[in-house]
Symmetry: C2
């Protein structure tokens, strides 16, 4: 089952037709309210809801199947709690995370780096972060093959920390057994055919499909 | 001397009054054209200028003191070349990088992670990435003290790769000798007084001042 999560990032970054999807939804804080305003009843709303008015919170409580209202002083971010709930409570096999980009860059980096934490890293290949210009897939060590996505020209490989023997054998710009101790972004690569393969022997890599602004 | 760089990210992310600054400017690709349209004559324009019309390129050539036109197939990004030029050619002692966020996330991550490369890491504490909601400072190991910036509520510490003994002794949420092997974002911290101190014994940390959208 696919579960979509809407975090609190700015609406300008939403992909088109975001709310037409049939999957179940989790709303993170104001994301829950935005789902409701777009005629979606979230399966779950997670957040401290600090920035909502009383009326808005009533609206959320009335229109969500379940609410997890957390203390604002906590170690996990609201989005981390939503992601954990998607896998552990709703038994998602794929999670699409929207509203996770744009706006505050600390939130954006947290939304990417949370996938390196042991409790999420096991699910990393089941999570995609999607916005108007980007689709991020995540991979752990191994041999992988990905498909062209229509409308995305660029393909970038970003090692999130130590990555060994990254090999891009059939992309426009090749790489062979590249090992890095620190994060590196290999950007603006491209597919040469309908698929691209790549491999690495340790670490986690983000693969970013992107296109220029319309 | 302060040098400002304008990269090609979307204009919605520009801070207000961006073009009122007195510092010298480098334009990265279309950034050069945008500077010219805002009545600034860049000291340097860097890029492959592939996406410009002939007329636009003529405009850039007429209005920049110097142009570095690079082959589109290259190992360094245009922004990396601009940053190297700021330090090596213009002898900047501080660089403010604008237009480096929003839009393509591969570009954004590249703009952050480039500062880990040995040739830039020596300058890391002299570089700030600034947009409408965020101001990112970078630090290498040591003992540091930073000041409150008006209008920025949140203070986040992001270890960019392996960081040892990160200690936040006088912030709202404290941390003591935290060591991480992989990137981690410690978000939504806050100043308790007009300064905040922190220290770590190895690695590079991004400190992100941010505020919610207006």
């Amino acid at each position: 089952m696919q579960v979509n999560i809407l975090a609190g990032g700015p609406r300008q970054q939403y992909p088109e037709n975001l709310f037409n999807q049939k999957a179940g939804w989790i709303g993170v804080d104001r994301g829950a309210l935005i789902l409701i305003k777009n005629h979606i009843r979230p399966q779950l709303a997670v957040g401290d809801f600090d920035s909502m008015t009383v009326q808005e919170l009533v609206e959320v409580k009335k229109n969500c199947s379940e609410i997890i209202q957390v203390n604002p002083v906590k170690d996990d971010t609201d989005t981390e709690l939503a992601l954990a709930s998607a896998f552990e409570q709703l038994h998602a096999d794929e999670v699409h995370l929207y509203g996770a980009t744009g706006g505050r860059l600390d939130h954006l980096l947290s939304n990417i780096f949370m996938l390196l934490k042991p409790k999420f890293n096991q699910y990393v290949e089941q999570v995609k972060i999607i916005d108007r210009q980007n689709c991020i897939y995540f991979f752990n060590a191994g041999q992988h093959c990905i498909n062209v996505l229509p409308d995305y020209k660029y393909l970038s490989f970003v090692s999130l920390g130590k990555v060994e023997n990254l090999t891009l054998p059939d992309e426009k710009y090749q790489l062979h057994n590249q090992s890095d101790q620190l994060p590196v972004a290999y950007v603006s690569n491209e597919f040469l055919k309908s698929t691209a393969s790549f491999s690495f022997s340790s670490g986690t890599v983000a693969v970013i499909y992107s296109h220029d602004a319309n």
